[in-house]
Amino acid sequence: MDNLTTWFNDLLAGNVIFTPQTLGYYWTGLVTTSQLVFLSLVIGLVLAIPLAIGRSSRHRWISLPIYAYTYVFRGTPLLIQLYIIYYGVVFFDGIQQTFLWPILREAFYPALIAFTLNTAAYTTEIFRGAIKATPRGEIEAARAYGMSQALMMRRIILPSAFRRALPAYGNEVIFMLHASAIASVVTLMDLTGAARFVYARFYAPFEAFLFVAAIYLCLTFAILYFFRYLEKRLLAHLKPA
C-alpha cells in the first residue's frame, strides 16, 4: 500500500493539470454523464416497449404515427434534436411564465428529453425487429392453446423478443453513452464538458482528452460485461449443447 502511494505521488509530481480541482470537474462530469445516460435509457426503454408493440400492429393508424416518430428521430442528428429542444423552446413567447420553464431552464432536462426521445426511437425499432422475428411455430402453438392476443404477447412473443433484442440493445446503450458527449454544447458539465474545460484552461488537449477517453472506456467495459452476463443467463438455451 505504501509503495502504491509513493508510486501515485511520483506519478502526480510536477503535474499541474490533474489537481484536486480539475479531478473534481471530471468527477462532476462523470456523475452528470451517468445520470443523463442512465435516466434516458430507463425512460426510453419503458417508452419503447408499448411503442414497439404498436409499431408491429396490423392497424395502420397505430403503426404509422409511431413509424413517423422513429423515422424523424432516427433520421436527424441527435445534436440537432438537442439544439431544437434547448434553444428552440425559448422562441415560444411567454414560455418563461409557464410551469414548464423550471424544467426547461436547466440544461439537464432538455438534454434528458432529447436523449430519451432519441434512444426510445432506436429501441422501438430494435424491439419491433425482434417481435417480427418471432418464429411462426411459437405463435401457432400459442394460438392452438387458445391464448388471447394479449396473453400471447405477454407470455410468448415479448419474452422471446427481449432475448433476441438483447445484443442489439447492448450496442444501443453503448452508442447512447458515446452520444451523450454532445451534452456539453448546451453548457452541461458532463465528462466531455469537463475535458473541454480542462483543455481550454491549460491548453493541454492530449492530457485532457486522453484522460476522459480512458473514463469512457472504463464505462464501456462495465456496460459490455453487464450485457455479456445478461446474455449468458438469458440466452443460455440458445447455446450449442
Binding site: Y87, V90, T187
Partner: protein, 255 residues
C-alpha cells in the same frame, strides 16, 4: 584568407547594422483587417478603427508618415521579421512568449471585461453577495471564463458557451442572469445590436494582470529600440493632450 573572410563578414555586418539603426521617417504598419472596432473598413472601403486612428495620430505627433499594410494574422510576425513592414499595430496582446521574438511598445490599451445583464435586471453591482446563486454565462476557455470561474465559481453557476451568439440567446431566454465578456464584443453584440435591452452592471474589469494581461502593444523588431522609444514618447504626449481620450471615447464610449 580566413582572416580576410572574417573581416569582410564583420564589415558587412557593421554596414547592415548601421543601415538598420536608421531613423525612420516613414513607418509601415502591419495590420490584420477586420477586427471591429479596432481595425476595419467602412462601407466605402476606407480603413479605420481604433488602432488605425491612434497609429495615424502617433505618426502625426512624431512628424513622420505612415502606411498600413494588410496581413493575415497567421503571418503577421513573420511579415515583420521579413521587413514587409516595420511595426505591428493590430490588437496584439503583450505577453512573454511574444517578447521572445518581438519588442513591444508600452501598452496603448487594455480591453476591459464587462458584466452585461438584461435592462430590467435587479443587479446593480458585482460582488459576492449579489452574484451568489446566479447563473453566469462565459465563453469557454477565455480569459473571462478563467476569471469568473476562479472568482465566483464557488457561489454561482458558470455556464460555458462556444460562441457569443449561443450565450446571448440564453441571456434572452432568462437562463442566464448575466454574462461576462470582453467589453467591445459585448457592446457590439448586445448594446449596439439591440438598444435598450441590456445594461452594463458594475465596473469594467481590467485587473488582475494575471488574467487580463498587459494590454495591447505595438510590436517592433527587437533591434528597433529607438523607434519603440519614440512611439512611447508620442503615446505619452497624446495621452496628456487629450487626443488619446478623444479617440478612445469615439470607439469605446458607453453611449
Amino acid at each position: 584568407m580566413k582572416k580576410l573572410l572574417t573581416i569582410t563578414i564583420l564589415g558587412m555586418a557593421l554596414a547592415a547594422g548601421s543601415a538598420q539603426a536608421r531613423d525612420y521617417d516613414h513607418v509601415r504598419f502591419g495590420v490584420d483587417v477586420p477586427y471591429e472596432p479596432m481595425e476595419y473598413r467602412t462601407a466605402d472601403g476606407e480603413l479605420t478603427g481604433f488602432d488605425i486612428e491612434l497609429g495615424n495620430a502617433l505618426c502625426a505627433e512624431m512628424d513622420i508618415t505612415c502606411e498600413w499594410i494588410e496581413q493575415e494574422w497567421d503571418g503577421i510576425v513573420p511579415g515583420l521579421l521579413a521587413r514587409n513592414y516595420d511595426a505591428i499595430m493590430s490588437s496584439m496582446t503583450i505577453n512573454d512568449e511574444r517578447r521572445q521574438t518581438l519588442l513591444f511598445s508600452d501598452p496603448y490599451i487594455t480591453i476591459p471585461g464587462a458584466w452585461f445583464a438584461a435592462a430590467g435586471s435587479e443587479l446593480e453591482e458585482i460582488n459576492e453577495e449579489a452574484l451568489s446563486g446566479k447563473s453566469i454565462g462565459v465563453q469557454r476557455g477565455t480569459t473571462y471564463d478563467n476569471y469568473a470561474t476562479d472568482t465566483f465559481g464557488d457561489l454561482a453557476t458558470i455556464n460555458r458557451y462556444s460562441t457569443a451568439d449561443d450565450m446571448v440567446l440564453d441571456l434572452d431566454a432568462q437562463r442566464l442572469d448575466l454574462v461576462f465578456l470582453e467589453f467591445v464584443v459585448g457592446k457590439t453584440t448586445l448594446l449596439d445590436n439591440d438598444e435598450g435591452s441590456y445594461k452594463v452592471v458594475g465596473e469594467m474589469v481590467t485587473e488582475p494582470e494575471e488574467y487580463f494581461g498587459e494590454g495591447f502593444g505595438i510590436a517592433f523588431r527587437q533591434r528597433d529600440e529607438a523607434l519603440a522609444e519614440r512611439f512611447n514618447e508620442a503615446l505619452a504626449t497624446l495621452k496628456e493632450d487629450g487626443t488619446y481620450d478623444e479617440i478612445y471615447e469615439k470607439y469605446f464610449g458607453e453611449e
